[in-house]
């Protein structure tokens, strides 16, 4: 199948929508289980000192019996993916071709059917829910991508569902070159 082009003047949003909306990624399993120290770093970036997330001895005495992963879709996705190392920045969402490779996240919806505990081993399945073109202040030809991630634990239970809307855009320099 011919790949839709992302170059200036030939970008066909309708062709991209036809090809990529509904596209599902293969299930990826997290490289590591849900880990205490990763949770600690995540909590400490916002001065979150909740012992349920940080103190195994405290958490053991609660009804949960173990440290919980804070209910952050971001952190669940981190544990469910292969982990961002070695770091790959561009493109962050390599599946859908876009004229620009810069990314701005616009919104996120997260649902937690069940709690995630330290020691769980998460997997993720991704799906492209929508692709559209939208003019924004940074780029009149920005492309929006709505991506869903369904995260499950080692027992196959869905623990988190994320729907993320991002806009991809060109830099001002790229727009000047592209508009020539």
């Amino acid at each position: 199948m011919k790949e839709p082009s992302a170059s200036r003047g030939t970008y066909d949003i309708e062709e991209v929508r036809r090809k990529y909306i509904g596209f599902e990624t293969a299930v990826a399993k997290g490289r590591y289980p849900v880990e205490h120290d990763t949770i600690r770093r995540h909590c400490h970036m916002v001065d979150d000192n909740n012992p349920l997330f940080l103190d195994p001895e405290y958490a053991k005495k609660t009804s949960h019996g173990a440290v919980l992963c804070p209910p952050s879709g971001w952190l669940a996705l981190y544990f469910a993916s292969l982990g961002p190392w070695p770091a790959v920045f561009e493109p962050l969402f390599p599946i859908v071709p876009t004229p620009g490779k810069r990314i701005v996240n616009m919104s996120q919806e997260v649902e937690w059917p069940a709690r995630i505990k330290a020691g769980d081993h998460l997997s993720v399945r991704g799906r492209v829910a929508d692709v559209y073109q939208k003019a924004i202040s940074l780029d009149a030809e920005a492309v929006g991508i709505v991506a869903e991630a369904i995260i499950s634990n080692q027992r196959g239970e869905t623990v988190c569902v994320i729907r993320n809307t991002m806009l991809t855009h060109r830099t001002p320099e790229e727009q000047v070159i592209g508009d020539r």
Binding site: H42, C43, M45, V46, D48, N50, T62, S72, V110, W112
Partner: protein, 140 residues
């Protein structure tokens, strides 16, 4: 003491907190989110993309909004849903204030559900990151 559904009032404010977005906080953000996209720590990269400066990422904002609720709801509370929008930016020099308010409560399937508005704001731009959430709290 564990918060219970019966003790929650519609209109009640969640305590919330504030965070100064200092250079140190920007580095903590990268460490804590493991988001290495340079727009969140490299001012030159951010400006080349048309932004005024670096700005904190989605993972950081989500962690802060989640903390507003988990600090309030206690160990037995369960955050079920959260939706939030990144409408404006939190940048170095800003003081990010995170708050919440109870917007509704109801019973369903024998459980006590609470609806919340949560948001981040700063003096420069007002509300930057509005959100809504639902939480299940234990019953008395």
């Amino acid at each position: 003491m564990q918060l219970v559904w019966e003790d929650v009032d519609v209109g009640e404010e969640l305590p919330g907190f504030s965070l100064d977005i200092t250079p140190r906080r920007v580095f903590l953000q990268v460490s804590g989110s493991q988001d290495w996209y340079p727009v969140h720590f490299d001012a030159g990269f951010a400006k080349k993309g048309g932004h005024a400066d670096v700005f904190v990422n989605t993972g950081f904002l989500q962690a802060a909004l989640v903390r507003v609720m988990t600090d309030w709801m206690g160990d037995e509370g369960f955050l079920k849903t959260l939706r939030f929008e990144m409408r404006r930016q939190q940048r170095p020099g800003d003081t990010m204030v995170c708050k919440g308010r109870v917007s509704g409560k109801y019973e369903r399937d024998g459980k006590g559900w609470v609806e919340l508005e949560v948001w981040a704001e700063n003096e420069r731009e007002g509300v930057t990151t509005p959100g809504t959430a639902t939480v299940v709290l234990p019953r008395r």
